[in-house]
Assembly symmetry: C2
Amino acid sequence: MDTPLEKALSTLVFTFHKYSGREGNKLTLSKRELKELVKEELGLGEKMKKPGGIDELMKSLDRNCDQEIDFKEYTAFLSALCMSYNDFFQEEEK
Amino acid sequence: MDTPLEKALSTLVFTFHKYSGREGNKLTLSKRELKELVKEELGLGEKMKKPGGIDELMKSLDRNCDQEIDFKEYTAFLSALCMSYNDFFQEEEK
């Protein structure tokens, strides 16, 4: 029986593959796949609508500059999101 | 309404605080808190039973060597776990 933390980690992995398999390299996210993931899974759709929003995000995540987001780059993205969630949580606690 | 990915990220944050609040600094995990988290939330209890198992894990995660695991060090740990889950997932797909 998986714990909530184990289930959460599985969700992170499965969400990546749900999008990475859509076009091109099945083990990386193209810009379009990243855009779809962010829009459908993170409710950041509005932010991404501003001109260049997705290009900016892509540029900040694509550390090896190969125009694709690999799994390691994706986990760095999620870590950053987690840090923001955590800051928010700590603010709420105050 | 939160998406599965958003719920998963919340679980990562809440799990940290469930343990970090137990003793000492409420915003970091002591060795004992880390041990409890790993044992109760990750089913790695067996591995931690071997002598020095938890000391080894603590040493590998505690990048700034302050004998505490802060939230950033915790996300690095989860990223590494995610990478293992992902490798396993890709092996299964082959």
